[in-house]
């Protein structure tokens, strides 16, 4: 939805685009601080809104409960990284010729149909590329979690990168740390290879459709 909105022309579009890419441009560590404050168990604004809506009576310990902490971190990460995906997909959307939509509309297709038949297939390469990017980045996520939860509570949000960092910097186990790095690296290479394979297939697929 984000990306479809950005592709439309309207007054104030530049303001909307500016605010839409802002999360991407800001330092993740600082954004983590902002979200930790928003999800604060005592004074956080999320708890306050929920209390005012009458949904809860006492504040939820967002960053102190394993599942909730994970959800909070994911939410903050989505907020931070959606703009980047939007930009990638926006470029793809802009490269789709408007003639296609026109011809499709003349044939009596509805907006939803042309979205499914034209937009999605032609955007497939970009979708796969952005998924690949996002996957690799999210896999190595460090700043946000380090700042928001430090991997806690009780290791509930301890991702690979935090584990590697702690192994090396806290326990000073360089050998084990290096082994972790290599294994993670290989896993990522595997993921990239699979994604590249999918990308190739979707390219063939789209040329067939067009």
């Amino acid at each position: 939805m984000h990306r479809l909105i950005l592709n439309h022309a309207f007054r104030g579009r530049s303001f909307v685009r500016t605010s839409a890419i802002l999360p991407w441009a800001l330092p993740t560590a600082l954004i983590g601080l902002a979200w930790a404050w928003i999800f604060n168990d005592q004074f956080g604004v999320v708890n306050d809104i929920l209390r005012r809506l009458g949904l809860i009576e006492t504040g939820i310990n967002w960053l102190g409960e394993p599942t909730l902490a994970l959800l909070a971190v994911i939410f903050a990460d989505v907020w931070k990284t959606t703009p980047f995906i939007s930009i990638l997909l926006l470029a793809g959307l802009q490269s789709i010729s408007p003639d296609l939509y026109e011809a499709h509309a003349l044939d009596g297709a509805s907006a939803w149909q042309s979205f499914r038949r034209i937009t999605v297939p032609l955007l497939m390469p970009q979708i796969v590329i952005s998924m690949l990017f996002r996957f690799a980045q999210a896999f190595g996520i460090f700043d946000l979690i380090q700042v928001m939860t430090g991997g806690g509570p009780g290791g509930a949000t301890e991702v690979v990168s935090l584990y590697i960092y702690a192994t090396i910097m806290r326990y000073l186990d360089f050998g084990y740390g290096a082994a972790l790095v290599v294994v993670t690296f290989l896993l990522l290479v595997l993921a990239v290879a699979i994604a590249a394979f999918l990308l190739n297939r979707s390219r063939k697929h789209t040329t067939g459709v067009a």
Partner: protein, 295 residues
């Protein structure tokens, strides 16, 4: 680019369906407003927090429209900590690595675009793959290198890795720029009697400036935001960059968290980037799409 989008929009909305078009219009505006609020709210909330007095910050229920404002949290940052240093450190490291990046990346991109060396696809793929790997996989290796060259607590410990990490994007963006540049210009310059060096510096370089600005902004943003290298390679309080320094702000005791000061630090650390995005929004989008999609 803007005109083509506008044209497309006018062809997309047929004039016949007035009611449904109007509903669509309203729905779209709701969606737009929701996106803007979603994107800005956390930042604005931090901004408001940074100006609240401590009693309002920790008030339950939350104070949304404070009547008292204070600059105390900001002055505190500069009095209790070398916050100017943090800002200068971040600025220095980011600017220098950006310049290095452009100085090294421009010739590389030009060579890839014009000379089309054998195996350029492999080079580009290699360059692209490097950008995929997160910093946490690199910092151990770099740490060893830094210890070997005794670069710990030295700005070079950040400048060199930032340059290296941002080079791929620089090369990709600039390469796609050079490929769009007509080669006739260069040939014409040669016919006019320019030698290669003159052609490059007098004809090509001035035209490259917009692309250099675009990539420079991206590199600057990445360098300013980088966390794990800055956290690991710099331990001297006076050399820390803003993201690291802000994440380490603590209170007088471990139970007292200085929410106001943290908010103020967040605002100061994000301000330069907010300004950059405000002025160069279009260029940033262009740069990212050129770098990511064409590669």
């Amino acid at each position: 680019m803007a005109t083509t989008i506008q044209d497309r929009h006018s062809t997309e909305a047929p004039p016949s369906k007035s009611t449904s078009a109007r509903i669509g219009e309203i729905l779209r505006w709701i969606a737009i407003v929701a996106v803007v609020i979603f994107c800005l709210a956390p930042i604005l909330w931090q901004l408001l927090t940074s100006f609240k007095v401590n009693e309002d910050i920790t008030a339950v229920p939350t104070v949304y429209f404070p009547t008292r404002f204070t600059l105390e949290h900001y002055t505190q940052l500069f009095e209790r900590r070398p916050f100017w240093r943090y800002i200068l450190n971040s600025a220095f490291v980011s600017i220098v690595s950006t310049l290095f990046c452009l100085a090294l990346g421009t010739p590389a991109a030009y060579a890839l675009a014009r000379l089309r060396p054998r195996g350029q696809k492999a080079i580009l793929a290699g360059v692209l793959i490097v950008t995929l790997f997160p910093g946490v996989l690199l910092f151990l290796g770099l740490l060893e290198v830094i210890q070997l060259f005794r670069l710990g607590n030295n700005y070079l410990a950040l400048i060199i890795p930032y340059t290296a990490i941002n080079l791929p994007l620089t090369i990709l963006v600039l390469r796609s720029f050079f490929e769009q540049l007509p080669k006739d210009l260069e040939d014409a310059a040669k016919v006019d009697g320019y030698n290669t060096t003159q052609m490059l510096t007098k004809i090509l370089l001035p035209m490259t400036v917009p692309a250099l600005v675009t990539t420079g902004i991206l590199t600057f943003i990445f360098a300013w935001n980088e966390f794990i290298f800055a956290l690991t390679f710099i331990t001297d309080e006076n050399m820390k960059t803003i993201p690291v320094a802000a994440s380490q702000l603590g209170g007088a005791s471990s139970f007292e968290i200085p929410y106001g000061a943290i908010a103020a630090a967040t605002v100061l650390g994000t301000l330069p980037l907010v300004i950059l995005v405000l002025f160069f929004q279009r260029k940033i989008v262009q740069g990212l799409t050129a770098g990511a999609v064409k590669g």
